[in-house]
C-alpha cells in the first residue's frame, strides 16, 4: 500500500486550535468576528479533510509523524479509509452546527459564549485527532482531550444540576479511561510491543487466550464514550448541556469517537481472525444487543425530550457496536454506515429539540401538543429524523439497517436479526407518538402566554431552523446517494478482510 507523507492531517487538527486562540482573543467585544473564526475554521477543516479523500479512494494512506516522545509512544497521524469516513462526518456537521450554535446561543442570550465557542473548537480538534490517530496511544491522548475540553461545555449553565451532570460525565469518561483503557493499552504493549493500528491486529498467534479476553473486556469497559451499558449513564446526565453541544458532541463527535474507537480496537488491534477464534465477537454482540433493547425501553418512559433522545442515542450507538461485533463484511459495512446515518438523523432531532426550546421554552414531550402547527419546518424535520431512526426508506437509517440485517444473516445469527426487529418496533413506539401529538392534537392553552395565538406560525430564528432543515435533507440525500459513503466503506472492509 502506498504511503504519502503529508502535513494535512496535522493541519486538520490544528485549524480549530488556532481558531480557539482567535476566538479567545476576540472575545465578547466583537461577536460577529468571533463567530466568523468558528465558521472559517469549520469550513477550512472540512476542506482539508475532503482534499485527502481522492488519495484514500485510490487506496493510499497519508501519514505524518508529529513527535517521537519515546521509541514506543509516538504521536503519529495516519489517514485511512475508516479515519477519513469519521472525519468527513464530524467536520461536515460542525459547519452546520456552528450556524445553529450562533442561532441558539444568541436566541437564548446565553452567558459565557466565548468560552463556549472556544472549547467547542478544541473538542473538534481532538475529534479529528482521534480520527487520524495512527496508534492507540495517540488515540488515547486525543480521547482524553475530548473529555477534558467538553467538561466546560456540559457544565456551561453553572447551576448545581449542570455541575452534577458534568461531574458524572467526567467521572465516567475519565475514570474508566484511566482505569480500564490505559491498563488495556499497557497490556497490549507488554504483550505485542506494538501500539500501531494494523489491519490484521497487533497480537501474534501464541498469546494466552485469557489475557486476550481480559484485555478485550478492558478496552470495551474503558471506551465509555460508546455508552455501552452498564456504563452509559453519563450520556443522559450530559443532557444538561446547551442543545448544540448535545447535538454535535453527544450525538456525533464524542459518542462517535467512542464507537469509532471500538471499531478501531476490534478491527485494528485485535483483528477479525483472532476475535472469531476466541468467539469474543459474540460476547460483544450480546452486550450490544442488551444495550439496544434496554435503552429503547428506558427511552419509552422519558418525558423530557432530550432525555428520550439521549437514551435513543445509547441504543443506536450499540447498533454500530453490534455491527462490527458480527465480524462479517456486511456487518462492518452496516456498522460504519450507521455512523453517518445516525449522525444526520440524531443531529436533526437534537436541533429540533433546541429549536422548540428557543421558540417556546418547552422541554417536555407532554407539552408538545399541536406544536407542529406552530413550527411546521421544525416538526417536519423532526419527523424525517424520527423515520430515519426507525429505519424507514427513503431515509439514511434504512441503508445501515439493511446492511446490519445482511450482516446478521451472513453470520447466521437469527438472534441479532430479532434484536434489530424488536428495536425497530421500540423505536417506532417512542418516536411516533411525538410526531402524532405534534401534528394531530389540539394545542393546550398556554398558561404563560394568555391570549397568545398558538396556532400561528412561530418558528425559531432562521439560524436555528435552516441547519435542521439541511440535516433533514441530508438524511434523504444519503439514502439516494449512498455510494459516496459505500465506496469508502468498501476499502475499509477490503483492508481488514484481505480484499474479498
Amino acid at each position: 500500500m502506498e504511503t504519502i507523507i503529508s502535513t494535512k492531517p496535522l493541519l486538520a487538527v490544528l485549524v480549530s486550535l488556532i481558531a480557539t486562540i482567535l476566538i479567545a482573543i476576540t472575545g465578547e467585544r466583537a461577536r460577529n468576528l468571533r463567530e466568523t473564526w468558528t465558521i472559517l475554521a469549520a469550513v477550512t477543516k472540512f476542506g482539508i479533510v475532503i482534499s485527502m479523500l481522492p488519495d484514500i479512494l485510490n487506496g493510499k494512506v497519508i501519514e505524518y509523524t508529529l513527535l517521537k516522545i519515546t521509541p514506543e509512544l509516538i504521536l503519529q497521524f495516519k489517514v485511512d479509509a475508516l479515519g477519513i469516513f469519521f472525519a468527513i462526518t464530524a467536520s461536515f456537521l460542525w459547519i452546520i452546527t456552528s450556524f445553529y450554535s450562533i442561532g441558539y446561543m444568541r436566541g437564548l442570550k446565553e452567558h459565557a459564549q466565548t468560552r463556549y465557542f472556544a472549547y467547542f473548537a478544541i473538542a473538534l480538534s481532538a475529534t479529528m485527532g482521534v480520527a487520524f490517530s495512527a496508534n492507540i496511544f495517540t488515540a488515547f491522548l486525543f480521547y482524553e482531550i475530548i473529555t477534558v475540553s467538553t467538561f466546560p461545555l456540559v457544565a456551561h449553565k453553572e447551576t448545581e444540576e449542570a455541575k452534577r451532570g458534568a461531574r458524572k460525565y467526567l467521572t465516567y469518561l475519565l475514570g474508566t479511561s484511566v482505569a480500564f483503557q490505559l491498563t488495556a493499552i499497557v497490556i497490549t504493549y507488554n504483550i505485542s510491543g506494538n501500539l500501531n493500528f494494523s489491519y490484521k491486529g497487533v497480537f501474534g498467534g501464541n498469546v494466552s487466550h485469557l489475557i486476550i479476553t481480559i484485555t478485550f473486556l478492558l478496552y470495551i469497559a474503558g471506551i465509555t464514550k460508546a455508552a455501552i451499558m452498564p456504563l452509559h449513564s453519563w450520556l443522559p446526565a450530559a443532557m444538561v448541556a446547551p442543545t448544540p453541544v448535545s447535538a454535535l458532541l453527544h450525538a456525533v463527535a464524542v459518542v462517535k469517537t467512542g464507537v469509532f474507537m471500538v471499531i478501531r480496537v476490534v478491527l485494528h488491534i485485535f483483528g477479525i481472525d483472532l476475535l472469531k477464534n476466541l468467539d469474543l465477537g459474540t460476547i460483544l454482540a450480546v452486550i450490544a444487543s442488551f444495550t439496544i433493547i434496554s435503552a429503547s425501553v428506558i427511552a419509552l418512559r422519558q418525558d423530557n425530550l432530550k432525555l428520550r433522545l439521549a437514551y435513543s442515542t445509547v441504543s443506536q450507538l450499540s447498533y454500530i457496536v453490534l455491527g462490527v461485533a458480527l465480524l462479517t463484511p456486511s456487518g462492518i459495512t452496516g456498522s460504519v454506515m450507521h455512523i453517518v446515518a445516525h449522525a444526520f438523523g440524531k443531529i436533526t432531532l437534537f436541533f429540533t429539540a433546541g429549536a422548540i426550546y428557543i421558540a417556546t421554552h418547552k422541554t417536555k414531550i407532554s407539552e408538545l401538543d399541536g406544536i407542529g402547527r406552530q413550527m411546521p419546518f421544525t416538526m417536519g424535520a423532526f419527523t424525517v429524523g424520527a423515520l430515519s431512526m426507525i429505519g424507514i426508506p427513503p431515509f439514511s437509517g434504512f441503508i445501515s439497517k439493511w446492511y446490519l440485517s445482511l450482516g446478521a444473516l451472513e453470520a447466521g445469527d437469527i438472534f441479532v436479526l430479532a434484536v434489530l426487529a424488536t428495536s425497530t418496533i421500540l423505536n417506532a413506539c417512542y418516536f411516533m407518538p411525538i410526531v402524532y401529538v405534534a401534528f394531530m392534537k389540539e394545542p393546550k392553552p398556554d398558561p404563560h402566554h394568555h391570549g397568545y395565538n398558538s396556532t400561528a406560525i412561530h418558528e425559531a430564528p432562521v439560524f436555528a431552523v435552516a441547519p435542521l432543515v439541511l440535516t433533514a435533507i441530508g438524511t434523504v440525500l444519503i439514502f439516494f446517494y449512498p455510494s459516496f459513503f459505500l465506496e469508502i466503506i468498501k476499502i475499509i472492509v477490503a483492508n481488514v478482510t484481505g480484499g474479498n
Binding site: 504521536l75 453553572e158 475514570g175 484511566v178 499497557v186
Partner: protein, 493 residues
Amino acid sequence: MNISDHSSILIIVIPLIASIINIFISLFKRSLCYSFFLLILGICVILSIDILSNVINSGTIRYKLGGWMPPWGIEYVVDHLNAYIIAIVSTMSLIIAVYSKESIKQEVPEPKLPYFYSTYLLLTTGLLGIAITGDIFNLYVFLEIASLAGYALIAIGEKRSVLASFNYIIMGTIGACFYLLGVGYIYIMTGSLNITDLSLLLPNLYESKVMLAALAFLVVGVAIKIALFPLHRWLPDSYTFAPSAVSAFASATMTKVGIYVLIRVSFTLFEPRFFTEITPLSSILVWWAIVAIFFGSIIALAQTDFKRTLSYILIAEVGYMVFGVSLGNKQGFIGAVLHILNDAVMIACLFMIAGGLMYRVGSRNLENFLGLNKSMPITMAAFTIAALSMIGIPPTAGFFSKWYLILGAIEAEQWIGAIALLFSSLVNAIIFFKLLEKIYFAKKDNIPKHKFPELPFSMLAPIVILALSILVIGASTGKIISKVIQFTVPGGF
C-alpha cells in the same frame, strides 16, 4: 587547568562558603543579600549543567578530594544518575529562590532574611553533597547538613511550624542514626567507606547476618527520610506549616534525594541480586510502597487544607518511586527515575500555587479556590496543567512516568501494584477536578466580591516556567531517557 575539571567540587564548596559570606554581607548592606543568593544558585545551575553535559559526553566523572587516593580519601563519583539529580536539585533551588523573594516577605521579618538565605544555601549544599559524593560516611554528613538546614527552615514558618519541626527533628534524627548504624556495620566488616570499593568487597559477605542488619538499618533510615508510610508522620505538618518557598523546595528535592540514596544503597552498594534474590527486600519494599500509595491517596482525599492535601499526595508519590525502584525490572526503574524529575516539577509548582493562595487570599483552605480564575487567570491555568499532570493525562509529563511504572508493574506481574497506581490516579482526578470545578464554575453569588490581583511577577514567573516545563518534559521524555536515564538502570535488569 580547566575549571570544568573541578566543577564537581565547586558546586559543593561555592554554596557552602557563600552561606557564611552572606551573613557578613548582611552586616554591611542587607539589600545585597538576595542578589548574592541568586547569583550563587545561578552559578550552581551552570555548574550542574556543565557536570551533566560532561557525563553525557564522556561518562562517569571521578574526583579525588585533596588528591587522596580512594578508598582512603573521599572520592566524588558522578555518573548519569548523580548528574541528573544534581541538575534537578540545583535548577529547582534557583527557580524556587526567585519565587521566595516576594513570598517570604510575609512570613519572615525583614531583618532575618539573610539568615533565611544562608540556611537555604546550606540546604542546597547538603542536597547536592548527598547526590555527588561517592562515600557512604560523607553521604551521612551531607544528609545531616541538609536535614538540619531543613529543620531550621521549616521552623521559621507559622506558629505551629515549631512543633512540626520538632517532630521532624526527632524522626529525622532517628532516621539519620539508623543510617549511621548501617554504615557502622559495613565499616566494621570491611574497613572501607568508598561505595565503588565496597561494591567489590561486599559480595563475599552476602551470607553474613551483619550485612542483613546493615541493609535493614540503611533502608529503614532512608524510609524515614523519604516519609514512606507509616514513617511519614512528620511530613504533613512540616510541609503544611513551613513557609511556602520552603514547602516547595523541600517537597521537590528532599524526598527525591532520599530516593536517590535508596537507589544507591540498593543497586550500587549492594548488587541488584542481593536486593532481589538473596534477600526478599525488593518484594517487601514493593508491598510497602503499594500500601503507601493507597494510604497517601485515601488520606489526601479527606483533607480540606490545600498544602496538607499536597503533602499526602506527595506521600503517595513517594510510594510510586519506591515501587518502581523495587520492581526489579528496567521499565519500572525508568519510570521511577523519570518520576523523580516529573514529581519534583509538579509538586513544586503546586506548592508554589498554594503559597500564592496564602499570599493573596491568606488561607490554604480548598474553599478559597472558588471563582479564582477571575482574579488569577494565569496562576490557575498553570494549576490546570499541573493538575492534569498529577492525574496523568497525556501529553503532560505525569503520564509518561506513570506509563513506565505501570508497564513495569505488568512486566513483574504485580497486578495489585498496577491497580494501586491507577487508583491513585483516579483519586488525584477526584481531588483536582473538584478544585477545577471550584475555580472555573463557581456560582456567581458564592464568589467573594473582592477581586484579588494576579500574583507579583517574581512569584508568577516560576510557576509559569514550571507549568510549561511539565509540557516540555512530557514531550521530550524519549530524549531524557535515551540521553540520561537508560544509563542509570542497574546492570542485570
